[in-house]
Amino acid sequence: MTMISPDERAAMREGFGRLLAEKCVEADVRRVMATQSGNDPALWTAMADMGITALMVSDEHGGIGAGAVEIEEIMEEAGAALLAGPLLSSAFIAASLIGLSHDDDAKARLLPTIASGEKIVTVAFTGDSGSWDVPGVTVTAQLQGNQWILNGAASFVLSANLADMLLVFAQTPDGLGCFEVDPAHVQIEPLQSWDPSLRLSKIMFGQTQAVHLAGVNDATFEQTLDIARVALAGEQAGACRRIFDITVDYLKTRVQFGRPIGGFQAIKHMAADLLIEVESATSAARAAARALDADAPDKDVLINLAAFACADAFSQVAATAIQMHGGIAFTWEHPAHLYLRRARADAQLFGQSDAYRERFVAAMEKAA
């Protein structure tokens, strides 16, 4: 899939990192999270200009045709900066889903505008259970004459508030299918999120007209989620490393009892243990991305491993970072809690650690 050389990849990542270092510093994150949209249009445009939004679109549809390896690395940078907005949901997940479909018409209509950043598309995967598996899909689709009609509800939908088009998984008489729905035709209820940089919605369907996206089934559902999981693992690995670095810097400068607190053995040992988590998260996310791109035999093992290892690492590092900072990180003005909030949201999106551990063992059993 990948036509991008390691040097090009490194250059793109570096450029993206520079952009975020300019336009997505902590003050920007706080500014954007206070807006209703939860997105920074200027930054979005700059990202589109840089080709970031085009990564997961094939070149025949105006994109770059990159793979999981590239978006994982981009998401490491995004996570480090706590980037908000529809990069993951539209440019990476929705683009992947459309790419995986067999719907040439939808590809031609939607992919170029996703790649250019002009249009935002998002995917509704799960219902109120938030279980991100096939039984968790509670929207139903029925063909009435020539018209597909949706009923039920989808929840925990990312960036639906910004979407020009919704892609909705639904139970059809023949198994899972996916449908294009115009956001104007449904009721979108914003869900207040503990992570203020996140925009989640619940979407209610009532005899809603929808267009079938051809060639999407249960397998596509899992394939799309696998891409989402690898991208999210990248975000977790990157965010985990950044809050760790922030913490280590603080340990070198905060003086108590006549010396920097990083000199105290208890703190030093906590930091050493966290470094294992940080490095493991990075290794796991990247290995999963490589396995996904290569369709490797141990793909399921590595994706599920990354899913819980990165979620747990980010949660642990963000939580411990607050403890290591002490009182200052108990204030709203300090960034540590923003990482904790992101960590707790990311630990739920697309699945939970216990379930991933179960899937990991099942994948290992198959291999054994």
Binding site: W194, G258, I267, I322, F330, L349
Partner: protein, 396 residues
């Protein structure tokens, strides 16, 4: 129970029968809570172990327990503050007679509210590094500096203040302890925005604030010792579940993990049940420890177990929040009034740091346990014997 305690039990029961209506839980004489407290204080029940000339009765610990017990039975407040009232105890132990007469009745009757002016931006775990200065000018001190993590500052009549009166001796030796009036022009209070969304705490800016010399508690340079005594009382109170009551939330803090598991349909999930068991075990084991500590203390044995309570409570609160999050699953991403269960759990997640950081971090607490309970060698402190003026807290 010895015969003395029996006698005092009889006496306090009779007194309560005369003065307190257990049905309506009010004083028979009517009036405000403070007026009831006046009666309790005058009768010597407020601080029974103190000498008779100082509102007490000169009784032993067992008698105090008996008194507290009788008050508890009929739901009457105010007895046994010689165990719990931090300010009154500090002043009683270290203050001048003038200060005792002026301050203690206000606190024993609950008429005065206090706040703690201890921590500073540069003096958190290292409390002795405070740089707020108190300079003696005639019959009063002039105080300048910044305090943080002060709860109840807006509502407080007095602040318990630790400040530096001598910069040329090692850091622990140059501190003095004061009771300062909070309502004065030299004091400005700014609320701190917490990660919980609350603002229970404040920054307090002191700029030429005045405190009369007679409000100094203990001698100049004795401040560290006075504060340690006050903190020890506070930590003892925190381990016994009081850490939760202090959180300033009106929420009922002991929520059953089993109820949450039932509500979220996870009650039959064997993996979730193991998590629930461990979290509930932490809580029960701490309760059993505290119970044993109280039994030890009732027998007159000092209990080292009490000092474990705050650290144990920290683990309990973090683990509860973790298990609750796990039970809630995706719902835990949500917040706000529409998602009350998630909001409660998110609040707990953030608020658990109040116990693991506030009032001495878990790390400081482990030092204390290791050194004072287990007798392990003290941490070497680079600046312990330096004149404070030359320490890194000042030189940076």
């Amino acid at each position: 129970m010895n015969s003395d305690a029996m006698t005092i039990g009889d006496e306090v029961r009779a007194w309560l029968a005369d003065h307190w209506d257990a049905e309506s839980r009010r004083a028979k004489a009517g009036g405000s809570l403070a007026e009831w407290m006046d009666q309790v204080m005058e009768a010597g029940w407020a601080v029974p172990s103190w000498p008779t000339q100082w509102w007490g009765r000169g009784l032993d610990k067992k008698s105090v327990s008996a008194i507290v017990n009788e008050f508890r039975k009929v739901g009457a407040p105010g007895a046994g503050q010689d165990r719990t009232n931090i300010t009154a105890n500090s002043v009683m132990q270290f203050g001048s007679d003038t200060l005792k007469r002026k301050i203690i009745p206000e606190f024993l009757t609950g008429r005065a509210h206090q706040c703690l002016l201890y921590s500073e931006p540069g003096a958190g775990s290292d409390l002795a590094a405070v740089r707020t200065r108190a300079d003696l000018q005639g019959d009063h001190y002039v105080v300048t500096g910044q305090k943080v993590w002060t709860s109840g500052a807006r509502n407080a009549d007095y602040g318990l203040l630790i400040a530096r009166t001598d910069w040329d001796v090692p850091k622990h030796e140059g501190l003095s302890f004061f009771i300062i009036e909070m309502r004065q022009p030299g004091i400005e209070i700014r609320p701190i925005n917490q990660i919980t969304g609350d603002s229970h705490f404040n920054e307090v800016f002191l700029d030429g604030a005045i405190v009369p010399a007679e409000n100094r508690v203990g001698d100049e340079g004795q401040g560290w010792k006075v504060m340690q005594t006050a903190l020890a009382v506070e930590r003892l109170v925190m381990g016994d579940g009081a850490g939760e009551r202090r959180q300033g939330s009106s929420k009922n803090n002991v929520v059953s993990l089993i109820d949450i598991a039932r509500e979220t349909g996870k009650i039959d999930d064997p993996v979730a049940r193991q998590d629930i068991a461990q979290a509930m075990a932490y809580r029960q084991l701490n309760a059993l420890n505290m119970l044993r500590a109280k039994q030890d203390m009732a027998q007159g044995t000092a209990s080292p177990i009490m000092s474990l309570g705050k650290l144990a409570m920290s683990r309990i609160l973090h683990e509860d929040a973790r298990v609750m999050t796990r039970l809630l699953g995706a719902e835990s991403m949500l917040d706000g009034a529409d998602h009350a269960r998630a909001a409660d759990i998110n609040y707990r997640t953030a608020n658990a740091y109040m116990t693991s950081i506030g009032g001495g971090t878990d790390q400081i607490q482990r030092n204390i346990i290791g050194e004072r309970v287990l007798g392990l060698p003290r941490e070497t402190e680079a600046d312990r014997n330096l004149p404070f003026r030359e320490s890194r807290a000042v030189t940076g």
